[in-house]
Symmetry: D2
Subunit: 298 residues, 4 copies
């Protein structure tokens, strides 16, 4: 089928190539016109504005957004929506908060524009050669456009998750689980590092991936990381985060669901952003007050 792609960053560019590989026609737009030219050489129809993109598609249109979640998605939708008409479909393939997706679906619905939320996992490599997609939206809308999800995912890597919002919600949970798994793996290796034994972490992660209960893609990536830098001597343990772990914890709080492991995974990331903490200062000062315990002076 023919569709429009907005956003040709690492994810959108590779997803477009993936679509082209599967004989879909793609009109592609990006604020960076060089990238648009580049994808045109790969077979996409270049569009140098949202208006041009919309005009290259026949009604009912299908337009796939692969732009950063938050303000960028919001402003693209603000510009795009007035150009669209009843029956058109907008797919948000970014990591949007499901609450935003529910709000946007309602707003677009007022103009009979359909909204589909597609949570995407698998990284850049997945976008290019087969991703994992969790897609929320109305049955009839999904049925119309399902082939583009089936074609760009690995076998069994696409799921229509339910009504609108359920795709981004599930992707959020996916990332929450990922936070917990990563922290669990990392804590394990930290204990190994402080142990009296002398492990080869590349070999350890390799054997963990062959027949053990914890074999996983994340453990394969762990092996890759240790292959490049045996003790990770070249990096600092600063753990950034990009929103979905936080949303998972907030959602857990809203639903009164205890999620200590996901919450602590996030909080240890926050802790890693600080060299020293006010929490630590208060506790150290208190120990000094009641027990005369030494404090570390600057």
């Amino acid at each position: 089928m023919k569709l429009g792609m907005i956003g040709l960053g690492k994810m959108g560019y590779n997803l477009t190539l993936n679509l082209l590989d599967h004989q879909h026609e793609v009109a592609a737009a990006d604020v960076n016109h060089d990238t648009v030219k580049q994808i045109a050489e790969e077979g996409a129809e270049p569009a140098y504005s949202l208006k041009e993109l919309v005009e290259k598609l026949e009604s009912p249109r299908t337009i796939w957004l692969m732009v950063p979640a938050g303000e960028v998605t919001e402003s693209v939708l603000d510009e795009l929506t007035p150009l669209l008409g009843a029956g058109d479909v907008v797919i948000d393939g970014g990591n949007s908060n499901y609450k935003d997706s529910l709000r946007r679906a309602e707003k677009l619905g007022e103009q009979q524009i359909h909204f589909v939320d597609a949570g995407t996992s698998g990284g850049v490599e997945g976008a290019r050669h087969g991703a994992c997609m969790m897609v929320g939206g109305d049955d009839d809308v999904i049925a119309r456009i399902e082939s583009i999800f089936e074609d760009t995912t690995v076998e069994n890597g696409y799921l229509h998750t339910g009504r609108t919002g359920s795709g981004h919600f599930l992707k959020m949970i996916h990332n929450g689980i990922e936070y917990g798994m990563m922290q669990a793996i990392a804590e394990g290796f930290d204990i190994l590092e402080k142990s009296p034994f002398d492990y080869d972490y590349e070999k350890v992660s390799n054997v963990f991936n062959h027949g053990s209960v914890i074999r996983s893609w994340l453990m394969e990536l762990t092996e890759n990381a240790f292959k490049k830098d045996a003790k990770l001597d070249n990096i600092r343990g600063v753990m950034n985060s990009s929103g979905e772990g936080k949303w998972t914890v907030e959602t857990a709080l809203d639903l009164e669901t205890p999620a200590p492991v996901i919450a602590l995974s996030l909080m240890m990331r926050h802790r890693s952003l600080e060299d020293d903490t006010f929490t630590g200062k208060v506790v150290a000062a208190l120990r000094n007050e009641f027990g005369g315990h030494d404090v570390v002076r600057k």
Copy 2:
């Protein structure tokens, strides 16, 4: 090579079959003589006592223990050690605490008996058709017996982890990571269960296993579990534990390594063993005291 196997439970029995498949000769003993007879029909040499087992092997002997960690392992070693001589090798394939392994290695070493600690992962299926083994012990000892580990594990599923104790230590860490991963997965599905959406968990775990960052053996097992019982309606959420998660947390405390995710995974298991908590009663009573908040009376 020829070796002795002590313990023909689910793990030991299947490991013996696995060894026989690979042309090793196995003299096998168990307190349950019916099981000994049964394994004899599969090609093992039956031994109805530890003495008989030892006599069926030529010096230097190799004897593999697959018995429950703790008291059983201790008492088997107490009975076995006097029967052995210098140069013999004892492999502990159970989930022993590495501190016990270090102690036992030292004690056996006084009689020039070698101790090898083999952490085994992969469950019963792994024991039968290819496990994952993390083995600690002296280089020359390991070199002598390495073929039995290579033959009974999946490809790349065997690692000589370093000196004595390092095998069981690594298996302990493996299980600690496993605790964290399982709790992370479980928290994710708990939030899904309380969400406003209506997910099919079998399909969700299936799509998580195809192209996503969290694909893993544990997620495959999650899919199996939901295939059998779509909402897990038939079981209660009682999470038992068998020691290694606890040892991991204790070791983390000893090494002053923060391991909040593994610790909380264990503590939530402990919480699940109680219907009501004294902690909860105290907090509820306090809220009533200072704010007049209602308590739930029995």
Copy 3:
């Protein structure tokens, strides 16, 4: 000075008595007219509608709200605001979210109505005989009305915390700390309860309050609770919560401040609301899948 009080629940009623004790004149309104009559007998001027209340006060008016945070506060303000004029002061003495207070201050400010956020601690007893108040608002506004805070609090129990919003923010943090302290106390007694020793908890909490590092009002309340019910046999450990702990955790996440103790205190409350958990079912099912461990069937 003369002021209006809206809301004659446990807190507002006692605060009114407290104000009257200190020679302030109070016009008092409540949806429950019986309560209004009752307080009138104590010396307050009864007001059977917000309109009547406003008319009983001269410009510039001071009106103190002691109504439940959230929708009730919102709707009272919606009804009250059109009745007020430039220079009037509205004090919100409830446990409102500081973000709501900032929003309301801005909205009222458009009509030159001043907003003051007064966080109140000390329970019903405090409202009656001397509370603790943390009050945010502009310096000149606070200066004008400060006597009512000074008179209704214990000595040194009133603090002008800074600009608008800072009072409710500080009260939120106060409650977050309270969550952590309560859970710490409760965990301690839970371990005592499971210990091999046989403690008298009333005596234990009493000794903790005499010379120990952990002596505190909460420990005094602990003693009171055990005095009434030595083992808390008559209540269930259901720990409800009323919002401020959750806001504290959400704020900690927003500010990227690790707050594991406050977060876990809240999550253990959420856990106590459930008899069984989906988290537990998933972990139990997984243990069964990989290790054949028994599950507890219903």
Copy 4:
């Protein structure tokens, strides 16, 4: 009564003065002979060896140890025990692990020497002018020596907690609760520090101590600390620990009692001992592997 004191550090020295104030006779020993001379000038009988100390007391003797828990206590007892006889009482006033106390009580009991475990709280100031003591031991033994506990504690600050071991167990729990309370307070101030408001922490802790639910000795100490250093600019947030928090968590694990708040309080202390973490490196490396997220290079 007359008793012997072993250990004249900050705690033992002040406790001896406290005993002398209450007309008890004290024979005092310490490895530091200057301190022994110094306390002699205050009225104690000097003893320059354990042998001399024992000889200065008549049978049945009462000897109070105020020496560091662990190896020092062990070695003092090893030297002291052969000098004692049936009916003598040894009080361990240090922060010993209750398991050690149970073991020592049994060992001393073989020689009919009585063991009493006295957990002491209140710091140096308490030792001098009135401490809090939680004392475990047999009823008849305690009855014989109770006056020394009653005289050296604040009113109601002494409790006979039950059989041997229960004193040190309760002191351990006291410290576990203290860990949780301190971390809760510290987290609260950390959030304040990162908030958009500008608080005066000395005033904040002061108001928290007047009428609020969280008023406590620890909050008074917080006020003292901020009085000396308004933003704690002069110290680093390194949180050491001295054993009892760790024992509390280990005991909680042994008793299968969830104690997340106490555990996390300890783990955040461990975290504060590190400038960078291996956990953080692993998570950062993994994020880089799957998502191409930037790592912070050294």
